[in-house]
């Protein structure tokens, strides 16, 4: 019985074992792995996935799924870059609106929030399965990105904007700060607020939650909106790091982030899981990607090894935590 109380801890602990074994193995073979610079390197690389996966965790906790994160990321990145570079021009009205960096970023994040809220609206209003609603959004947002960029990257956004993706603040890379803050806020949201409690409740038992007076639609729309906003933040980081918004950025990011969520112990049927578990999941994936490169594994083999390690990590998890 008592063990059960610590189950959330236990789950994290399981992934920690997998992570530990992984790090040990890699550092046995490569002396470049356990260095400070490589550590920051990995952290910076996973910061985008962490942002997206945090939003995905919230969605999955409500027993939903968000396949649109990758293309929302691309669209919002492109939008911010476009506004930053070209502003908004209305030639007919002879009107031109220029954007500051903060302004353009704000519009990008708002756009992500809106797209996410649209997902939530379609899901709750029309009872469309989340899989389909967000799959449709995946396609639509990618199309809109192509339309907006006309298929060309938007580049040359300036050094100030590049700070977001490449700068350092207090000896820590800025993207790591951003993802750290996102994680912190999400941990507070899930453990200390009413909304967080409702998210778990809805995923655990939707009809009981409805009877308890929870406004299911509102909570779901908020959750998808958060997921969209975090995808947009991810888009800003990617765009800033590359100093360029790529029209096909973020493709198949949804799979990476769902993998992080599930490796982190969150159940796809909702109601069970933690943000910190997801962070661990994202770190495992990041370390794996980094390690395979450091170990000089051939690119063809990398995919095989990556698949096998992810499978093993989850198996270790499952077989140690015994019952469900």
């Amino acid at each position: 019985m008592d063990l059960k109380l610590y189950k959330p801890f236990f789950i994290k602990f399981q992934s920690l074992i997998a992570l530990f074994i992984l790090c040990l193995l890699i550092s046995l073979i490569s002396d470049k792995f356990l260095t400070v610079s490589n550590g920051w390197n990995v952290m910076r690389q996973i910061s985008v996935n962490i942002c997206i996966s945090v939003g995905m965790t919230l969605v999955v906790l409500t027993a939903g799924i968000d396949l649109s994160v990758g293309s929302v990321l691309a669209l919002c990145g492109a939008l911010t870059a476009g506004l930053l570079k070209n502003g908004l021009a209305f030639p007919q009205a002879d009107l031109f609106i220029g954007f500051t960096i903060l302004g353009a970023m704000l519009v990008g994040v708002l756009a992500g929030t809106f797209l996410g809220a649209f997902n939530g609206w379609a899901i709750t209003k029309f009872k469309v399965p989340a899989f389909i609603a967000t799959l449709a959004m995946l396609t639509i947002a990618r199309g809109l990105t192509l339309l907006y960029t006309q298929g060309f990257p938007i580049s040359g956004l300036g050094d100030d904007f590049a700070y977001l993706g490449t700068g350092w603040f207090l000896s820590i890379p800025v993207p790591v700060w951003i993802s750290g803050i996102v994680v912190l806020l999400a941990v507070i949201l899930t453990t200390k607020t009413r909304l967080g409690r409702y998210i778990y409740a809805i995923g655990g038992n939707e009809s009981a939650s409805r009877l308890s007076g929870i406004n299911i639609s509102r909570v779901k729309i908020i959750v998808y909106a958060i997921s969209g906003a975090l995808a947009a933040i991810g888009g800003l980081i990617v765009t800033s790091r590359l100093d360029s918004a790529q029209p096909n950025a973020g493709s198949s990011y949804e799979l990476d982030s769902i993998a992080a969520v599930v490796i982190g112990g969150t159940s796809l049927s909702g109601g069970k899981g933690t943000i910190l578990g997801t962070v661990l999941g994202a770190i495992i994936i990041g370390v794996l990607n980094n390690g395979l490169v450091l170990l000089n594994v051939s690119p063809f083999w990398q995919q095989v090894v990556k698949g096998a390690v992810i499978l093993l990590a989850v198996i270790i998890d499952k077989s140690n935590s015994k019952n469900d």
């Binding site: 910076r44 990105t145 990257p153 040359g156 360029s244 973020g250 980094n290 490169v293 690119p299 063809f300």
Partner: protein, 289 residues
């Protein structure tokens, strides 16, 4: 810091390995580097600029001494190359350029735009300045797609007799090209030519035409110089392609890296490697391997 005995390490960062053309480019570069006595390692960016950035960081932090680079995107990759430059790691671009004259040590480039101008001229000639044609684009978010399309149109659009009846994307994919052309043929059974953004799509287009019994009336044009297409040109199935020289570019880049290690610093910023037009007339000069 690597000691004198330890061999220098060269990273080959390539935009994708999902396409044989880039496999050749990457493997030739790595093989040449090894032949010159260096350690070499291939990184696959999977057409993802962000992943490419990761590769640069990993390569720099794990002590690679030079990077032979096939950029994912001309603009999106500048930041990465600059990062390497800041870390004193020389970058030699292969095939595709980065839009900056200051970042890469040298760029050995295949000129898709001019290649497609030549191809466009041949296209006009073969169609006698008159007819309906279809253009099949690559990935619409990819700048190579547009370099080729623009080069082609910069010639062909001057001829009012040549009418583009459909322009669709097939993501550089053979199967998609076939399916897209199958559908286009339903709406436009009377086309005279198909211009494809790469050779895989040209093969797919040919397959669709063949299945529809139109392979003899419709001329197919590709780009890349892939083995399949070279054979097809020999057999008269495909009209022409633009031959790029991945091996030449890859080997040149590796040699430049060696010269750099030996102390040379003044490399030409751009070394163009011409794209040659391959047609039934000159196909005997090109052997598929």
């Amino acid at each position: 810091k690597p000691t004198a005995e330890e061999p220098k390490k060269i990273a080959v960062i390539v935009s994708t390995l999902n396409n044989p053309w880039f496999v050749v480019l990457a493997e030739t570069a790595a093989a040449k580097a090894r032949a010159l006595g260096y350690e070499a390692k291939i990184f696959d960016s999977q057409n993802n600029t962000a992943l490419e950035a990761d590769h640069f960081e990993n390569a720099i932090s794990s002590g690679f001494n030079a990077i032979l680079f096939n950029p994912t995107d001309a603009d999106g990759s500048i930041a990465n190359v600059s990062k390497a430059k800041a870390a004193d790691v020389p970058v030699f671009c292969m095939d595709r350029e980065v839009n900056s004259n200051k970042s890469a040590t040298s760029q050995i480039l295949s000129d898709s735009y001019s290649g497609c101008i030549a191809l466009g001229k041949y296209f006009v000639k073969k169609l006698n300045k008159k007819g309906k044609y279809v253009e099949i684009l690559g990935l619409v978010g990819d700048n190579n797609t547009w370099a080729r399309s623009k080069g082609f149109h910069s010639v062909v659009d001057h001829y009012p007799g040549l009418k583009m009846v459909a322009q669709q994307s097939a993501d550089f994919d053979r199967n998609k090209a076939m399916e897209v052309l199958e559908s286009i043929l339903q709406a436009n059974p009377d086309i005279d030519a198909v211009f494809c953004g790469n050779d895989a799509m040209a093969m797919g287009a040919y397959q669709a035409l063949y299945a529809a019994g139109k392979a003899n009336h419709v001329q197919v044009f590709g780009f890349d110089g892939a083995d399949d297409v070279l054979n097809s040109i020999k057999e008269g199935k495909i009209k022409a392609t633009g031959m790029q020289y991945p091996k030449v570019m890859a080997e040149t880049a590796a040699l430049y890296a060696q010269e750099y290690f030996n102390g040379k610093r003044n490399f030409p910023q751009k070394v163009p490697v011409a794209v040659e037009l391959v047609t039934p007339e000159n196909i005997k000069n090109y052997s598929a391997n």
